[in-house]
Amino acid sequence: MNQNKAAGFRRFHDLEASWIFIIPSFVLLALFVLPLVALILRSANPHFVQDAFSEQALQALTLSLVTSSITVVIAAAFGTPLAYVLSRWRSKHRAWLEILLDLPIVLPPSVAGLALLLAFGRNGLLGSQLELAGLHLPFTSAAVVLAQTFVAAPLFVRSARVGFSHVDREVVEAARVEGANLWQLFIEIMVPLAGRALISGAMITWMRALGEFGATILFAGNLQGVTQTIPMAIYLGFESNLGVAMVLSVMLIMISVFVLAVTKRLENNTY
């Protein structure tokens, strides 16, 4: 008799207590889901295909995909060695270097854009030397890549660094004992074992580069076909051609969902 009462009491409390978790979760989920659903519903209009193949949309899409891909290649080519050095470097100054590398991630993109302009602009710190060499950066597609690299590459370095540091110490020791030099250690042990971290890092870098706006519009400017990326076309399209803005937004959402799903699978397989 008492047991039944106790069980009933506990069940009542469980039911009551679970609402404390369910309601706040629901509220936050609604905040995320509703805007996305609204966007997808509004964009499902008769003009969707026409807008999707409009010149502005196609040029923005091409430019974004090409520049962000180049950004990922640069991030991987230069970021992997950097992450490797960071993971092997035993020094108390390492923390400062890590802070410096994490800075572009937290910096507001407009700050990044301004800094790039002041460094590489025509009258910038390095700019005047570049001008002499015949290299004009602002307002070019190269500037778009540079802006994206500045804000997105640190994400790759972070992921790679974590991946390298998770490689089992004993495996590294064993390889050293076997007489592997630094290069062999890197190519045959570290990269394969940290492979998943490198790939998921590359994907996150790609997504960040695709979504980059503030630094790009300040440093590279806005010119359709040359520097107008998807986020810029959305921002300007919002005022002149809502259809194109919505189509591009939906495309970006679909790409994001895909990449995040793939990244999730990779992460789940690693740990």
Binding site: R122, G214, G221, L223, T227, L236
Partner: protein
């Protein structure tokens, strides 16, 4: 998704200096103070900030809060339900759009001022621009406001006017437009790019050249220049109709117009 959201576009709310009677100096709405929210075209930044401060001194119970952006951005925001009491547009089209949308009373818009356009170049004038004609020079880096921005529309209109003039030739507009390296989202961005020396030239309002005295100016022939008409009107659904009306009367008054002219705007007629 977090990462995609990391784009730093803000439309800054500019607070005028708090009135001397406001207790803590913070611009919050207490029973003693009301907030008047004015959405105004970017080119009005300096002039309206000064007018707002003067209005506040004269009316201690009001705090004037500004949102400066391209008129097309403001129109989109108001259509999206942004809480504005007044809208000051750099052209008629954006104001008319709000009238059509039922957000502004058709009888309400009044001409605020007129503004003319001018060519600006960096202090050092790296491209040696001396006249409007020089804009057609190959390789020149020209920055204009986007064609959706009033300043951008007016600039393109000037180029079209020039194309109709035999001295410039029919190809003038297209040649100049081919020199554009960037279409900015508002006219102050054009000013900034020229100030930084990134652009060889830009077309902005006369008022912008007054607000940025470090820029060299090259005048546009008067017969080709356009007169930009700015409009101001209260936004429907605003709760501060009394103060909104007073502010409109103030900027249209002699004192208000004098301040506007100080900043390079031209009188209404």
């Amino acid at each position: 998704m977090l990462l995609i959201g990391c784009t730093g576009i803000e439309t800054p709310f500019v607070e005028s200096e708090p009135s001397p009677n406001s207790p803590s100096g913070l611009a919050v709405s207490t029973p003693q103070t009301q907030t008047l929210t004015v959405f105004a075209a970017t080119s009005l930044t300096e002039a309206f900030s000064e007018l707002g401060a003067k209005f506040q001194t004269a009316n201690p119970s009001v705090t004037v809060r500004f949102n400066f952006a391209g008129s097309q951005t403001l129109q989109a925001q108001i259509e999206g339900g942004a809480p504005a009491d007044l809208f000051a547009s750099a052209n008629q089209a954006n104001m008319d759009a709000l009238v059509s949308a039922g957000l502004v009373d058709p009888k309400a818009p009044r001409i605020l001022l007129t503004n003319k356009l001018i060519l600006v170049v960096p202090q050092s004038n790296p491209a040696q621009v001396a006249s409007l004609n020089d804009l057609a020079r190959p390789g020149l880096k020209l920055v204009l406001a986007d064609e959706t921005v009033p300043a951008g529309k007016y600039a393109r209109q000037i180029l079209d006017n020039a194309s109709n003039d035999p001295t410039y030739g029919k190809e003038f507009a297209s040649t100049v437009l081919a020199n554009i390296v960037s279409n900015e989202t508002d006219v102050k961005q054009v000013v900034a790019k020229v100030q930084l020396g990134e652009a060889d030239a830009g077309i902005v309002y006369v008022s912008d050249s007054i607000a940025a005295p470090d820029l060299k100016t090259v005048s546009i022939p008067p017969d080709l220049n356009v007169t930009a008409k700015y409009y101001i009107a209260p936004v429907s659904g605003s709760k501060n109709t009394e103060f909104a009306k007073n502010f409109v009367e103030y900027v249209l008054s002699e004192e208000g117009q004098a301040v506007l002219q100080k900043w390079g705007f031209s009188p209404i007629q």
